[in-house]
Amino acid sequence: MPTLTQRLANPTRFLALSSALLPWVATAAGLLIAWGLMLAAKAPPDYQQAHTVKIMFIHVPCAWLAMAVYVVIAISSFGYLVYRHPLADVSARAAAPIGAAFTLLALITGSLWGKPMWGTFWEWDARMTSVLILFFLYLGLIALRTSFDDEALAAQNTAILALVGIVILPVIKYSVDFWNTLHQPSTGGTLSIDKSFRIPLLVMAAGFTLLFAALHMKAMANEILRRRIRTMTLAAVERAGAGIPDKPQAAE
């Protein structure tokens, strides 16, 4: 019996499944984020950080997605290089711009949180610098992809870079433990946070994760359509070269 990934290897089947799932995933994401924002608005001020703690409810989900999206790209790249799964490269390519956007948001919101708390927008400490490297890595993946005319060669090189780049994730995760940083240490999966902050944070994190799932699904569907257009355009050029008309002539 074929596995789920084998069944999804057919792009047409993936398009049908994603178009059926997308409205539900997008609606669930919207509802969770709306609920999370309501809970965040009601959250009390922190005894040290006052109301700036509200930035946590968007900064942490963005930072979490910055790393999680990279894991998706790395798994997809592995799937492409090892199993030649037809949708693996589509997934890696579709996820890169979304991951770059969430990493940029993590950097900006962290910077806006840092100024009132640390007195500076930026410090070249291990956590901030390693997340900046992750952002550049995303940009590198996007740039490398567009630098090859050969689609297969681009996919292969981008997949190798993505797998090599995964080394940045443990550096980001443990940077606050290995080095003396301005950034606070890990909260142990939010367990050390008071319930009044933890619940809105977890709801927002779930909402943002579903938002990514919806964006990724739609971006993958777009990438499949883009590849179909390329194939159809090439077919049209070949037919034109062979002197075959585009449309069958009407019977006279």
């Binding site: 608005a41 001020p45 006052a50 109301h51 700036t52 509200k54 930035i55 968007i58 900064h59 963005c62 711009p97 979304i98 956007a101 940029l104 948001l105 900006i108 919101t109 806006l112 949180w113 100024k115 009132p116 938002l211 964006l215 739609k218 971006a219 569907a221 777009n222 359509l225 883009r226 179909r228 257009i229 194939t231 159809m232 355009t233 077919a235 049209a236 037919r239 008309p245 585009d246 449309k247 069958p248």
Partner: protein, 68 residues
């Protein structure tokens, strides 16, 4: 509520505004790109251009007459 934020208001509101802007941009990007690509496929199909797999289906679709 915003009045309670005091001197931290620009940082809090700024953070939420940037996230809202970028997320709206991402949503607009995937939707607009999807519509543009769907239109392009329709345009190519209207010209009679088919993918090889679609041609194969068309050619065995009943009347046996090859299409496009």
């Amino acid at each position: 509520m915003i009045a309670e934020f005091g001197r931290h208001a620009p940082y809090i509101i700024g953070s939420y505004a940037v996230v809202a802007l970028v997320v709206a941009g991402l949503i607009a990007w995937v939707l607009i790109d999807g519509r543009r690509l769907a239109r392009e496929i329709e345009r190519l199909e209207a010209q009679g251009v088919r993918r090889r797999s679609a041609r194969g289906r068309d050619e065995t679709a009943g009347d046996g007459a090859p299409r496009g």
